[in-house]
Amino acid sequence: MEAKKIIVCDTDKCSGCELCEYVCSIFHEKTVNWSKSRIRHVRIEPTFDIAIACRKCEEPLCIKACPRDAIISVEDGSVKIEKDKCNGCGWCIEACNFGALKLDWDKKVVFACDFCEGQDGPKCVEFCPYDALEFTTLDQVGREAGVKAFKRIIEELE
């Protein structure tokens, strides 16, 4: 099986423009409504920004929490909400450590990131003007962190 890819956010680059939220709602809902975005921008004043979407947890707490078994695991590691079963109780939202699920105020059902299934990768990543978002594997994130750390050591030694 292919290593799972998630959306990671470089908090040094994220400036809090929220265009990821605009773009997400436009491509999923065909309208502008950032409250229906699958990715969520969080700002902690004065200088911290991050955008968070589904982390594809190995043992998704949202699935465990759902009393109606409305959330199922998909092969790529993401989750799918079966709209007929979901009654919008929101336990999954409480259970998720990242605030990656949201309640649709109009349809009264929960929704989560589908990584723009069927598209050429997530639209938020494609549109992020700051290149803060990346669609990548955790292995790759670790490797890049290692390279960065090692480069710093080399610089210091030189």
Binding site: S15, G16, E18, T31, V32, W34, P129
Partner: protein, 609 residues
């Protein structure tokens, strides 16, 4: 009608009544939004002779058609009222969450009249609004107010526009802050809020924003986002607006020591380059902005350790070099005080520099300055003067709280070096070494304004001899004002003006959002209509030619510095340039629109000549 919500709120603070009004398509087409709506509302609804601080003054909050859409840097709103600072049209535009949030809540704007009997705040949600008690927010800073309202209502996504203590204390120069770092800065809109006992407007919306042609708009926006990362905006992204410090210093147009000079010997110490290296912790963006210009300074060490603020060129320059100050820590602290206590940084800087000059000239003694040694270059005194100005503390606070023009009136001396037009403080561009700019600033409807026409551009770009004036300069101001009226009515950020290929592309943004079919020519005509509407408001409140002049220093004193030594504005040349501008505008020699022009623009002709 796409782009717009199609309705707005009317709030009567006296009775507490809140009702919905409809935005007609005719008004939308005629005045577009933002600045246009402010001019239209104020001209029609503020009764003749209304005192700016009376319940009859109208305070409006408007968005434009693009707020809440993916158009780059479009989450912007404007607040307007008869200005307590100038007595003419007052308004200020801010970026940030409240704009898109209001649209998502289903409203294009809010029109507030009356005065509440105790401090209140307005809470706007999807399709509804209520006035709530704000006694617990009395005396709180803008940053505290934002947090306390979110905490009271248990919703972190609420966007807040609020006033600080200075607004509550009715300083003519009080601003309105949202998202901590963005301000409706100029002409005292925070003072009008204070006069109505309105501490804040809190907004939360979750609705959808409809645009006419979403797919085509996204196609264009996708390209515009890329251009926002290109050379047209590089200056704003890398150094931010403080990049101007060294540029203007080289050109001899960096106001120094209350505009006496155009160069500052310690400019390097407070340059954008130095700030990025030593102060900037993070560069942040407003919602929908692919540029990010907001350079957040965090002072790590020294006297001002712990100070945090977003520092732009105007604030840095006027609280810095114009007060003879180069310490970036002190400047960051002064901006933080202005933003949290609630006074416009531009007016604060120029007012403190006025007090410094008055002190050095012996017009003020230590007895008048709360004991401060208020000479140019004393950074501690500058910061303390800003603080007492915001809080009306002591003799100095009482003297300068309402700006330099009123301070000179109170003192009975020093009006010849109060750097104002229409009693509002001048922006951070030197008068005598950027003379086209001066014409644009002095003729601007809101007073001493660099944002109405960008009239410094022909000077800075070397298209004209910037040390002289002639009749032809009016054309630059005229063209700039008409286009900027559109930018301010859509409302989009002026920092994106360079990413559009031409006016046709700007018109296409309007058309894709609204579904209209406006030509670039019609669009510019709308800009002309909007600007004339704003001017008519001023005429209604007694504007004449004499209101369109720079302060006396421009004509009476030569500059002394290395680059612009001896520069002065020749009065006859200014007279001629002003007449040229009026002629271009088809106004009379007294600056009054002609009836023929007003009729052509579809405006009320009763005040025309």
């Amino acid at each position: 009608m796409k782009g717009y919500a199609g309705k707005f709120l009317r709030v009567d603070m006296t009775t507490g009544e809140i009702r919905t009004d409809t935005l007609s398509e005719e008004t939308a087409r005629k005045f577009l939004g933002g600045y246009g709506f402010v001019a239209n509302t104020l001209y029609n609804e503020v009764p003749e002779g209304t005192d700016p601080l009376s319940p009859e003054n109208v305070l409006c909050f408007w968005t434009g058609p693009v707020a809440g859409t993916p158009v780059p840097v479009s989450s912007k709103y404007i607040m307007g009222a008869r200005s307590p600072a100038t007595g003419f049209i007052g308004f200020g535009i801010a970026s940030g969450g409240p704009a898109s949030e209001l649209k998502a809540a289903g409203w294009d704007g809010i029109v507030v009249t009356g005065k509440a009997d105790s401090l209140k705040y307005l809470y706007v949600q999807n399709g509804q609004a209520e006035l709530r008690e704000a006694a617990y927010l009395k005396g709180k800073t803008t940053w505290e107010t934002e947090e306390m309202i979110r905490s009271e209502l248990s919703d972190e996504e609420i966007r807040v526009s609020s006033i600080g203590p200075a607004g509550e204390l009715l300083s003519c120069l009080a601003n309105v802050t949202n998202d901590r770092n963005r301000q409706v800065g100029r002409s005292g809109m925070g003072c009008v809020m204070g006069s109505k006992n309105l501490k804040a407007i809190a907004i939360r919306g979750t609705g959808s924003i409809e645009v006419a042609h979403l797919d085509e708009l996204m196609e264009l926006c996708s390209d515009l986002y890329k251009r926002c990362r290109g050379p047209a905006t590089e200056k704003y992204r890398v150094l931010g607006t403080p990049a101007n410090v060294l540029v203007h210093n080289r050109l001899g147009c960096l106001p120094t020591n209350n505009f006496q000079k155009g160069t500052f010997e310690r400019a390097e110490e407070c340059s954008g380059e130095r700030m990025l290296e030593t102060m900037v912790k993070k560069v942040m963006a407003c919602p929908s902005c692919p540029i990010a210009c907001d350079h957040i300074n965090v002072v790590k060490e020294g006297r001002w350790a712990g100070a945090v603020s977003s520092v732009d060129y105007e604030s840095l320059e006027l609280l810095g070099p114009n007060c003879g100050v180069s310490d970036l820590g002190a400047i960051t602290k002064a901006v933080e005080l202005c933003d949290t206590l609630g006074i416009d940084t531009i007016s604060a800087g120029v007012t403190v520099s006025w007090a410094m000059e008055a002190y050095e000239k012996g017009l003020l003694t230590r007895e008048d300055t709360n004991g401060l040694d208020l000479r140019f270059g004393n950074d501690e005194a500058m910061v303390e003067a800003v603080r007492v100005m915001c809080l009306r503390e002591g003799k100095l606070g009482e003297l300068i709280a309402d700006g330099s023009a009123r301070a000179a009136e109170r003192l009975g001396k020093g009006s010849e070096f109060a750097m104002v037009n229409k009693k509002l403080e001048w922006g951070a561009y030197s008068l005598r070494s950027l003379q086209t700019a001066t014409l644009g600033f002095a003729t601007s409807v809101r007073g001493a304004c660099y944002l109405r026409s960008g009239s410094y551009q022909p000077d800075v770009k070397g298209l004209v001899d910037r040390y002289k004036l002639d009749r032809s300069r009016g054309k630059f101001v005229f063209d700039g004002e008409n286009l900027y009226a559109i930018i301010d009515s859509m409302i989009i950020c002026k920092f994106t003006r360079g990413i559009y290929k031409d006016n046709e592309e700007i018109a296409s943004v309007i058309n894709l959002v609204t579904g209209w079919d406006v030509t670039p020519e019609e669009m510019i005509k709308t800009g002309e209509r909007i600007h004339n509407m704003a001017k008519l408001f001023n005429v209604k409140f007694g504007a004449h030619r004499t209101d369109d002049y720079p302060p006396p220093r421009a004509f009476d004193e030569k500059m002394y510095d290395d680059v612009s030594d001896g520069a002065i504005i020749v009065r006859e040349q200014y007279d001629e340039a002003l007449s040229g501008y009026y002629e271009e505008r088809r106004w009379t020699e007294d600056g009054i629109p002609t009836k023929a022009l007003l009729e052509e623009l579809g405006l009320d002709v009763s005040l025309g000549v």
